[in-house]
Amino acid sequence: MTFKKLINDPFDVVDEALDGFVYAHSSLIALHEPRVVVRRSPAGSKVGIVVGGGSGHEPAFGGYVGLGMADAAACGNIFASPPPNVILSAIRAANHGHGVLMAYGNYAGDVMNFGLAAQLAAAEGIEVREVRVSDDVASAPKGEESKRRGIAGDIIVFKCAGAAAEGGRPLAEVERIARDANDWTRSMGVALSACEVPGSGRPTFELPDDQMEIGMGVHGEPGIKRGPLRPADEVAGVLVDTILADVESLRGDVALLVNGLGATAYVDQHILFRAARRALEARGLNVVRGYVGEFITSLEMAGASVTVTFLHDELLALLDAPASAPAFRN
């Protein structure tokens, strides 16, 4: 299978895409330096929020910089964590003297690079806390939650942490809230076809035309079950059941987010949302907030993920707080 890409030199993909993204949203964001996206109008006195990760997940991560969300995003190469110096620049840009919370997906490379950046920032006297998003139930079994990777649950954690910071909460509180949002958020995805890292010359995985893979990660990391493509209702049922089986005591109200991976039609995403909503309600849960769209993609991968956040009053209020970022507005 060959992939048709509308690009120039594969080595320029990340910087050209970031340039375009910032031009397209220039009323909200700006490039602080080549790989660091910041708010067009920096926030005043508050805890700073830094998000980030590899590129290829657009609109993540620059799309979550803005009022009520992050102050800065550090962007890496395709599917590769940004290096410490880029993250350090993002931390400095986000620091308003009240400390900085970094929220990022739990991947080996990100953990090392963000961790090194936090040490560099600490040496400059900036207080930094980090929360690793780990919502993907397919990536490690129950009991090993700290090994799970972060996928679309990123957006819920960024939103809640961003709202808490915008509301003037201190660093320890913002960190607690980000952890709480992560603890109450579970996701699982399904992949229908692969993507190609520009310059690699090959798809990231092989998946026959009539097959789907349940639980595949946003970089094409293999999932937990491969089988024939099934109707949306059935796929939603499997995803919702796996997510619910992972939670001890189910609360009544949930937020439901369906994330398209890049090449799955909005029509399909909404059919999956409908199916997931019905599956949740059939199991006694109330879907009180819904989000559908491409929040964190995987280049041109086809597929989608379902994210469920089990809500309590504080999380719901934070989700509903105002936000004005390129990829999330309230």
Binding site: P10, F11, F79, L116, R149, S200, R202, H219, E221
Partner: protein, 215 residues
């Protein structure tokens, strides 16, 4: 005699040649970008060598660490911290440069840095499965051994270690989530480490790096 600069250039050449092979190895278990990441690192290494034409030894190792780290991902910080540890070892050695025991101590320090940062151990199907046998091979050499011979022995050990990862189950890194299904494919990180050590050995013997193997 070849030094850090020649070895780094040879490694950059070899990694660029191996880009497709490394991407192929990274696809079954990871995210398919390892070859691209290492090619970007090679590009950064060339820039660093050009930007510091007079640097050598420990100073050059520090420049190379910054170049390797600039690509991010998992490989960037691991190589950066390994090269910084090697630079520190060279500095502490003072006038004792270019001997096989010093290179062995550098490799040992580099390995310790990778373990410290990545929390993996030999057998976890990572970069360490190529580096660990190479370090053990170098530590067995005496100061009478020719550098080219010592590195060639280490490269053979590294390549065998990388090949053996095909029979391992990933216990760390991104391939970890694959568990048993990671068997059957050599680890891309271990493979690129073997390629780098082979390139260093070739540089000392005045030979071009091996060409990339084709699937």
């Amino acid at each position: 005699m070849a030094g850090v600069r020649e070895c780094a250039l040879a490694a950059a050449d070899a990694l660029e040649l191996a880009r497709d092979e490394l991407c192929r190895l990274d696809s079954p278990a990871g995210d398919g970008d390892h070859g691209v990441t290492m090619a970007l690192a090679a590009h950064a290494v060339r820039n660093a060598l050009d930007a510091a034409p007079d640097a050598s030894g420990a100073d050059l190792l520090v420049h190379l660490a910054a170049a390797a780290g600039s690509v991010g991902g998992a490989s960037g910080p691991l190589y950066a911290s390994a090269l910084l540890a090697a630079a520190t070892t060279v500095r502490q050695a003072g006038p004792d440069t270019g001997t096989v025991p010093l290179v062995a101590r550098c490799a040992e320090a580099a390995q310790a840095a990778i373990v410290n940062l990545g929390h993996a151990k030999p057998g976890d199907k990572t970069i360490l499965d190529a580096l660990d046998p190479a370090v053990r091979s170098l530590l067995l050499e005496t100061s009478n051994t020719e550098m080219g011979d010592a590195l060639a022995q280490a490269a053979t050990a590294a390549r065998a270690g990388a090949a053996a990862t095909a029979q391992m189950t990933a216990a760390a890194g991104r391939a970890r989530v694959l568990g048993e299904r990671s068997r059957g494919f050599a680890d891309p990180g271990a493979t690129s480490m073997a390629i780098i050590i082979e390139a260093a050995a070739s540089a000392f013997r005045g030979r071009p790096p091996r060409s990339a193997t084709r699937p």
